[in-house]
Amino acid sequence: MTLPTSLQSNPRFDQWLKFLSDETLRMATGKVEIGQGIVSALPQIAAEELDLPLDRVIVLSGDTVSGPDERYTASSLSIMDSGAAIRLVCAEARALLLDRAALRLNCAVAQLSVAAGRFLVDGTAADLSYWDVAGEIDWSQSVKGDGIAKSHTEYSIVGQSVPRRDLPAKLSGGAFIYDLVHDNMLHARVLRQPGRGASLAGLDEAAIQRAAPGAIEILRLDNFVAFIGLDEWAVETAAAIAPSHATWIGAPAIEPAQQDAAWLRGEPAIDNSYGAPEDAGASGELVEAVFSRPYVAHASLAPSCALAQYVDEHLTIWSHGQGMHLLRRNIAQVLDLPVEAVTAHHAMGAGCYGHNGADDAALDAAIIAVQKPGATIRLQWRRQEEFGFEPFGPAMLVRLAVRRDRAGRPSDWTAEVWSPTHVQRPGTGSGYMLAADALASPPPDLQPEDPGEERGGGGTRNAAPYYDIPNSRIQHHLVTNPPVRTSALRTLGAITNVFAMEAMIDDLAAMADEDPLAYRLSMLSDPRARAVLEVVAERSGWSRRDAGGQGRDLGRGSGKGLGLAFARYKNTAAYAAVVVALSVEREVHLENIWIVADGGLVINPDGVRNQLEGGAIQGASWALKEQVTMSGVGVTSLDWDSYPILKFSEVPEIDAVVLDQPDQPSLGVGECSVSPTAAAIGNALAHALDQRIYDMPLNRDRIMAALSA
């Protein structure tokens, strides 16, 4: 049998499980908590398979000493990858433990059962537990994958909405990387190189020292500059004024036009085509439209942070990045250390939904730590640094060209996508950590890559229609010279592709004079796709669309709109259908969002609903508000006034429902509601205005321009 990917790379039992002397089980995962609830859901799987109370399973997450390497926590794969591995490991471990217990108790395995980690013989408690026999088993052996996992009909822990483990500490003021305090800790900030290839021609260190309200040390290594000291305020003040005392040469300039997706067309690109060959003889009316979104920011609520210490030639790093094993290898490489001389531990950070400055901050801290052996360096980025230097979600331009058949259905579908890369995580494609560029031997210019189509693609994610369309193809232009570094942000290219596709489907339905729901259902043969649409239609009162939907009584022309959208994330993960009710008066006011998702077997239903709700709000924020602006030598949206996100007063009521399919494999749900929400907002706005707006964000300027056109 084929083992799950995570087990192929981490085959030993002891990379996953350890029975501890206090009668707990330590379950390890390479995936990390990023707000998605994974450290709460994964132990449900382990506890279920091993018949342990949930509180006896403790979690080790993102640890390069004892935990498995599962690459990055990304792409809604934590339950599908790590969860599948943990289920198999635990099922097989249970069999090994039962074998030992049968020997010890001189009975047949079939006579044994387990309750709370203690064995029963023919239903009678025996004086023997997992922990009594665990020491007799060689846990360094490889998992065979032949363990028989429970049937879902036996589940009592999986499928329950157990509370998040991390929440109590987060409500009491602890829990985060920012809160770690070490003896001999020094605070640090960095002066950022304004762009690749810029070199520091001058730095007025005396002026910076004078401005700092406490003792600081200025560390210079080539074009890397750091301010270090015991007093964080002094270090922060030095870093805040440092840019005005620094002279750089060779910083690349950014033209304002480069901030717009339209700039991408015609720029140097790596071109690829997927799907059906072009059909020169395709007939039917051609419908074309071009859609876009701008560069967007992860805009994490906390600036990136890392701790590092270098003791006895061993570097230890604490980071809120999403892949500790890769971070370890990449930092070892940049600093020319043997990989065995580096350890990385994950510590929780503020949510960012992708590749933000976390890895960069870890390298910053590591560079300083190696120069200051014995101290723990606590490095934090400044707010302006986070907004200015994080790797952004790339701008995208999507041109759709569709042929309609005589019945008004699409018979031939072309999606042409222009986008910079969606993944420059360190260790992938052209990825690198920022400070490496400032050191004596900067990394070479590498060819950008996007995730492969087999992993759902990057710019092409969800560009292929899930609808029954005879011929479709994707033409992908991976633009190689964007003005800013770009990398992974929740859904990658899916939000723009789904926004475009679902707008086109609505417009085609209107051309055919059909209801958007009925039109979609007429082209969807997958019953699970149909089901999410049908249920969301029912919950939202879709049949009363022109009256405003559920519980409303509003005529057309009232500035109210109801819009629908569907997507199956990556065309392989969870299904989601969303209906949005909004009103528009110069700008959009969201009133209701209804979400229905199908994620197969659900481990923690409330955890999934939390993700659906959060994804919808993030999708709404991108659709309506967010845009990175840039000019001169960098980014100009450097605070929350110039980079607004959805506020409490702008958040609608949300109704999120999960269709549990316990006999189906779990499907990644963490990103599935984002893109359909953005698309449903676009469709609801078109419904309200009787006019389509093609470019995100759907803000006041665009609405006013559309209304006056």
Binding site: R164, K170, L171, G173, A302, K647
Partner: protein, 164 residues
């Protein structure tokens, strides 16, 4: 120029030697070990660092020590002092647990402070009152609707109406 500043934190008299322009958040986190007050922007834009200053919500990221002197500061840790340990949470903390109101959780301590200030003066807030009290706060994970519900639930519990 370092001077000595005296103020009260969570009911305890404190004395800090610091630069007068140093924002309160550095004193709380680094001098007093109260790490629940969170740094977000340093610009009074995100609300992560909200504390009560003489009972009124204020941003710890910008209030200099010279402005804090003599004041009574309450941080998220004061909820714990009111019974909010993990074993016996404050009604606000319990309501957030009941609603599972949070994902990454970074915004929560500032939000709990504004919620406490709201409920201290308005025991029966409408949804609009709650939203207005949170307008200075950002949440990136999209836990907004749960947070609003949790504050409404806490208000009901504090009024003696039990969980709603």
């Amino acid at each position: 120029m370092a001077e000595t500043y005296q103020f009260t934190v969570n009911g305890e008299a404190r004395s800090i030697e610091a630069d007068g322009a140093m924002p309160l958040i550095y004193a709380l986190r680094n001098e007093l070990g109260l790490t629940g007050t969170r740094y977000g922007c340093g610009l009074e834009q995100c609300g992560s660092c909200m504390v009560l200053s003489d009972g009124v919500p204020g941003y710890a990221c910008t209030q200099g020590m010279d402005a804090v002197a003599g004041r009574e500061i309450q941080t998220i840790e004061s909820l714990s002092a009111e019974g909010g340990t993990e074993a016996a949470p404050h009604p606000l903390q319990q309501a957030f647990l009941d609603e599972q109101a949070g994902q990454c959780g970074y915004c929560l301590s500032g939000i709990l402070i504004s919620a406490k200030a709201l409920l201290d003066k308005n025991p029966d807030p409408s949804r609009a009152d709650i939203v207005a009290a949170l307008e200075g706060h950002l949440c990136r994970c999209g836990a907004h609707t749960r947070i609003i519900k949790a504050i409404g639930r806490a208000a009901a519990v504090l009024r003696g109406e039990g969980a709603v």
